[in-house]
Symmetry: C2
Subunit: 197 residues, 2 copies
């Protein structure tokens, strides 16, 4: 009934993470209403991204440059490596402004359920990098989920023999977190890891 | 610090209705991860929309055809006209499947606050359409907001002299609505408009 071109675009948007049918429709109608201000610039930026953004061949970070903006930054500390699941985690660390070392992006996590094995992740490059470069410390910053933890254990077992210090993020109460809203696991972990003040 | 092309795209998305900085970032990283499945088809659909979708010169409905898929549909009832604010309202009515007449899209509402006057809306075309075509009824289906009501009153005063029956949507309790969550205005309107069963 409705013309396919508009319908098709709404459907494509509605499949993206965080968007549903209604929000996609709202978005598309907004774009059509603001062709000059929103639609044309968006098309242009998407095309530029499609053509120019690639994973860095050293760390997997998405950038137009290779080596990426982090690997090519002389001010970063090359003695510490932070291993993350995805580009979004790298961006989250960068937002904190408190990590100045290098990254390695795995591109996912081990998941038996989704059929993701070690060969599907950016692990070989991590191991050869660890053999070549002299890192003082490797932070395995995978998510605190089942898959993240599985990936952590797998990588730790691979890296421990190299003799490099392997660390992971602290578990505990998130800042601003109200104790009565926390799950039992987090709360008991935070209690066990309590610190003398 | 971060490369501008990716940043720029995230910023463009984050300005769209319903999206924030985080959801835009998530969306963009998803698009880059799924270039073949999501990014390229989206660019193509956006381009097609940008070039081919225009407001129907009769009713203002967005379509690739002119007259649009509604105005050119011989099965629609030409004796009843539904005046809506935006294309999204037209789509909402079409989803109900319970309106078979024609539409007229105003392209907004009167708003002193945002400086939108009658000359900014698709009103002249509505008036000349009403003079030319023989409608039995015009449904003024503006939103139940302050601006929507203002626009309703403005249009009613313009249309009443033509002698055509002018109607508006019923106010009342929304289906599935729990009375104790409703605002006082809706509840008292629903009470006043109570119906004998």
């Amino acid at each position: 009934m409705m013309h396919t071109s508009l319908d098709h675009l709404i459907q494509l948007f509605s499949k993206l993470p965080g968007l549903g049918k209604r929000s996609a429709e709202r978005l598309v109608l907004h774009l059509i209403k603001k062709k000059e201000l929103a639609l044309y610039p968006l098309i242009e930026a998407l095309q530029e991204t499609a053509h120019n953004i690639h994973p860095c061949s050293f760390c997997g970070c998405l950038d137009v440059r290779d080596p990426c903006f982090i690997c090519s930054d002389k001010n970063r500390d090359p003695s510490i490596l932070c291993v993350v699941q995805d580009m979004s985690d790298l961006l989250a660390f960068e937002r904190t402004g408190s990590f100045h070392g290098l990254y390695h992006v795995l591109g996912g996590v081990l998941s038996a359920l989704e059929g993701v094995g070690p060969q599907d992740l950016n692990i070989q490059k991590l191991l050869s990098k660890v053999q070549k470069q002299k890192f003082d410390e490797i932070v395995l910053a995978t998510n605190a989920t089942l898959e993240g933890q599985t990936t952590f254990h797998y990588l730790r077992d691979l890296l421990i023999p190299s003799g490099i210090k392997v660390t992971r993020l602290a578990f505990g109460v998130p800042l601003g977190g109200e104790l009565h809203y926390l799950d039992e696991g987090t709360l008991s972990t935070a209690l066990k890891a309590r610190q003398v003040q």
